[in-house]
């Protein structure tokens, strides 16, 4: 018989760097999950993406066991990284308004595709560009479909 699911937790944690600090500790601990077990697994599974903020969806079962799925990095994080590359910003902590190219938007859309079921590339790119606009990041040049 399948185990009964009692809840879900959505966290974003840096790859390879989960530790029992908040919010990981209190969020998992209050549900009776073994925090240390989660951290060990998460860090081993995400070691190739060390330091990148990764969304993780944790499924909690009635016997206090859990499993989790690590998603692709959020478009917003990828946009910040891309804007930094383009502008060569030496001030990662400040002044983030910048621009990215459509090629960069396409690269981000390709990374995000596994989490955007059955999305067409153009739709994914429009979505990424929308997020960029909300963040004050302009997309320079003409969109591929305008050419």
């Amino acid at each position: 018989m399948a185990k009964e699911i009692t809840g879900y937790l959505k966290l974003q944690v840096k790859g390879g760097q989960a530790n029992p600090s908040p919010p990981v500790g209190p969020a998992l601990g209050s549900k009776g999950l073994n925090i240390m077990e989660f951290c060990k697994q998460f860090n081993a599974r995400t070691q190739e993406k060390m330091g990148t903020v990764l969304p993780v969806l944790i499924t909690i079962y009635s016997d206090k066991s859990f499993d989790f799925v690590v998603k692709t990095p959020p478009a917003a994080n990828l946009l910040i990284e891309a804007a930094k590359i383009k502008s060569g910003s030496a001030e990662p902590n400040r002044k983030k308004v910048g621009s990215v190219t459509w090629d960069q938007v396409k690269e981000i859309a390709e990374v995000k595709m596994p989490d955007l079921n059955a999305f067409k590339m153009d739709s994914a790119m429009k979505m990424i560009a929308g997020t960029a606009r909300s963040m004050g990041i302009t997309v320079s040049g003409k969109a591929p479909w305008e050419e």
Partner: protein, 276 residues
């Protein structure tokens, strides 16, 4: 250690954006809620100006409201820790907490009260490392446990007859917990140290060097581990999946260490290397 707690409510489409922006100003993990997010940061790492700049940029667009609080570091794992089963490793080792009844007739009983530190014997890597230790000669030997967590591996080495045992961890909670566990197991003469292997800078060489951490740390510190192993001594590594053994072995081979044993459980791997 205290954490600052920010419960931020905002429009759904801005949750991801705020998380990305806050990650740029020092926050490293987040809890996503339906109506916003929760972000925490150690007080001494908090840059209020940078944080406020992020909020100001989105405050009207995203309809942001913020509730700030403060949180003391406590043992958040108590719920799990108050109700788990003891575990037997083979015929000889039995690992239990203080609240479990002792077991008669066990050769090596280890008492661990974990307090948010890693190493109760339940995780495959700990289980496999305990099993490897049972197969190695300990009598009169010098052992060091790097990234010791609860101290469980060091404790078994002591019980197997090691002459001296050293242990350390980068987490001050583990150090306190490790010392409590050492006392529970008749090792109050051993004091767990704080820091990475490079910070602690252990003196001399060891017959058995133990490290159950993770692949990135092991690869980074391998050059130090190699210098710590006596000629003819052993290096025990775990904390990685079986598909990562190839990378670990490439590194150990470059330092002249040869693999003599490998065990896998639940896809986790633990390997014993020997130095010529």
């Amino acid at each position: 250690m205290e954490y600052l707690e920010f419960k931020i409510s905002c429009k759904e489409e801005f949750i991801e954006i705020l998380i990305a922006e806050l990650a740029e100003v020092g926050f490293d993990s987040f809890l996503e809620k339906e109506d916003g997010l929760e972000a925490y940061i150690q007080e001494d790492q908090f840059d209020r100006v940078a944080f406020q700049e992020v909020l100001d940029k989105y405050i009207s667009m995203a309809n942001i409201s913020v509730e700030e609080g403060r949180m003391e570091k406590v043992n958040w794992n108590t719920e799990w820790e108050k109700n788990y089963d003891p575990i037997a490793v083979g015929e000889e080792v039995y690992v239990r907490a203080s609240f479990h009844a002792p077991k008669e007739g066990v050769k090596h009983e280890i008492v661990i009260n974990p307090k948010m530190s890693f190493g109760t014997g339940h995780h495959a890597t700990t289980y496999l490392m305990l099993t490897h230790l049972l197969n190695l000669p300990h009598h009169g030997k010098r052992v060091i446990d790097i990234g010791a967590g609860t101290g469980i591996l060091a404790i078994l080495s002591h019980k197997l007859g090691a002459a001296t045992v050293e242990a350390f961890d980068i987490d001050d909670w583990c150090v306190d917990n490790g010392n409590e566990n050492f006392e529970l197991n008749g090792m109050s003469h051993v004091k767990m140290g704080l820091g990475t292997v490079r910070e602690v800078n252990p003196q001399g060489q060891f017959d058995i060097v133990i490290a159950n951490i993770n692949k990135n740390v092991l690869l980074d510190e391998m050059e130090v581990y190699e210098t710590l192993v006596k000629p003819g001594g052993y290096l025990l590594l775990s904390g990685f999946y079986d598909h990562d053994v190839i990378d670990i072995e490439a590194s150990t081979a470059s330092f002249g260490l040869s693999k003599i044993d490998q065990m896998v459980k639940d896809k986790w791997c633990a390997v014993v290397f020997k130095k010529k």
